[in-house]
């Protein structure tokens, strides 16, 4: 059995929090560049140009891409043949977030209680999702999530009779309502199926898929393409200031569901769709 230490997890999470907040993945950079080239609105092209400049400044001068450096959402895929020693894994993850947000000059945006609302001052706790998988590795995905777009996300408990048309209308309604609030051009993560909480998780995970990678399921792939086209005909545009690029990608994940239900979750992310992946 392979063994790793929790200290190594802390060190990795710390670096990943800093990296994710300063550099987007290549697929996101390309998607922004393609959007600028295709944009018909002059204001839209200007906004997209500013976003590309922003990425260059962030990387060159070590300034977070966005001041909302997010609540740290972390996916942990733990190999069932891996042994992790040296203390609590969850505590180690939170320690990595604490160190990353402090040493990386990232904003502390977490309050300890949703009503009392006192800032925890170290951006912990993270939202951690564990999954047990075959193998002896630990795959970590750090995805800091800003709340301008998180606030515009929605869950719809549709019924089987609503069908694919219902799904389509739900996604478009969420995007339209989000409009300029969600910092378009956005990435739209959609979860279809499962239960109330499962579809939300599917939508969140969909945001970590590369912007240029379509679903392998043919009807899902068709729906992703169709929704992206429809969203880009909404007129919302970059910054919500009008234009032909409102979304960079629509990523849909599906899961089996109950005979009585058709849950749909729409998790909207701004153009700063951050994620960083590492295997230990």
């Amino acid at each position: 059995m392979r063994t790793i230490r929790v200290d190594d997890v802390t060190a990795a999470i710390k670096e990943m929090c800093i990296e994710a907040n300063h550099c987007l993945t290549q697929d996101m950079e390309w998607a922004l560049c393609r959007a600028r080239e295709a944009e018909r609105s002059p204001v839209g092209r200007q906004v997209l140009g500013q976003l590309e400049d922003n990425l260059r400044i962030a990387a060159r001068e070590n300034i977070p891409i966005c001041q909302d450096t997010g609540m740290a959402v972390i996916f942990m895929e733990v190999g069932q043949e891996l042994h992790i020693e040296g203390g609590s894994l969850t505590a180690a993850v939170n320690e990595g977030v604490r160190q990353g947000y402090r040493e990386g000059y990232l904003r502390k945006s977490v309050v300890g209680d949703p009503i009392v609302r006192e800032n925890t001052r170290d951006n912990t706790p993270a939202v951690i999702h564990y999954d047990i998988v075959p193998g002896d590795q630990l795959k970590i995905t750090v995805a800091p999530k800003g709340f301008g777009s998180e606030n515009m996300s929605r869950i719809f408990m549709l019924k089987p009779a609503d069908g694919i048309e219902g799904v389509r209308d739900a996604v478009l309604a969420a995007v339209k309502e989000a409009g300029p609030n969600a910092c378009p051009p956005m990435v739209v993560g959609v979860g279809i199926g499962g239960t109330f909480e499962k579809c939300a998780l599917l939508a969140k995970m969909a945001l970590t898929r590369p912007a240029d990678q379509r679903s392998e399921v043919s009807w899902v792939q068709e729906l992703e393409k169709e929704l992206l086209e429809k969203i880009n005909r909404s007129g919302i545009g970059p910054g919500g200031l009008g234009g032909t690029n409102t979304a960079l990608a629509v990523n849909i994940n599906t899961f089996p569901t109950h005979i009585a239900g058709l849950p749909v979750a729409v998790n909207i992310c701004c153009h700063v769709n951050r994620h960083c992946v590492r295997a230990l």
């Binding site: 609105s41 922003n54 909302d68 000059y105 990232l106 800032n119 005909r233 234009g243 701004c270």
Partner: protein, 184 residues
């Protein structure tokens, strides 16, 4: 149209700005977001003094990331304005001339903008690194305990914004979007 203006500004300047104008702001602005607005609102209701003069000033809805050594501020882009809608009409009635944020405003805010001859600007959401380059200094002047949500006095130079809602109530989010909408 491109315009360079100094802040704070007067009624005449506010009245000349039109929805869709690109504006570069130079001068002094104040940051306040959710928690600072709540506190100012409570102070007003208790008849207490506000931490800065409202008349003619511009509020930037922004909570920066921490500044690295030798820099005035960290990443510094706008936050969603609608969360401040509940508190905004009262501040406009006290003389606030401009707000910088992103996203839609409520009917009540639009009415208060028109009633007071004020302006709502948008800065590009998610461009915090770029926008920080137009901020020359930052000083916490109130509510220090709120951390990133404290009220800061910022000196800005050519800070780039676009007029979304002007003093006549024209709204770029509505006009520009309808121009590019192609619905079946």
């Amino acid at each position: 149209m491109d315009r360079h203006i100094t802040v704070p500004f007067d009624d005449r300047t506010a009245g000349e700005l039109r929805s869709g104008d690109y504006v570069y702001l130079t001068g002094t602005i104040y940051t306040a977001r959710d928690a600072a607005h709540k506190r100012m609102y409570e102070a007003l209701n208790k008849g207490e003094k506000l931490p800065f003069e409202m008349k003619g000033n511009v509020i930037y809805y922004m909570g920066p990331s921490p500044a690295r050594e030798g820099r005035p501020v960290g990443s510094a882009g706008p936050t969603t304005a609608s969360r401040m809608d509940k508190y905004t009409p009262a501040l406009l009635d006290l003389g606030i001339k401009g707000m910088i944020g992103k996203g839609k405003r409520s009917e009540a805010v639009v009415e208060a903008i028109v009633r007071n001859g004020a302006v709502y600007f948008a800065a590009v959401g998610g461009a915090g690194a770029l926008l920080s380059k137009s901020i020359e200094s930052s000083e916490i002047i109130a509510y220090d305990d709120l951390g990133t949500e404290a009220i800061r006095k910022l000196k800005v130079r050519d800070f780039p914004v676009i007029v979304v809602i002007d003093s006549q109530g024209n709204n770029l989010y509505e006009t520009a979007v309808s121009q590019y909408r192609e619905e079946e």
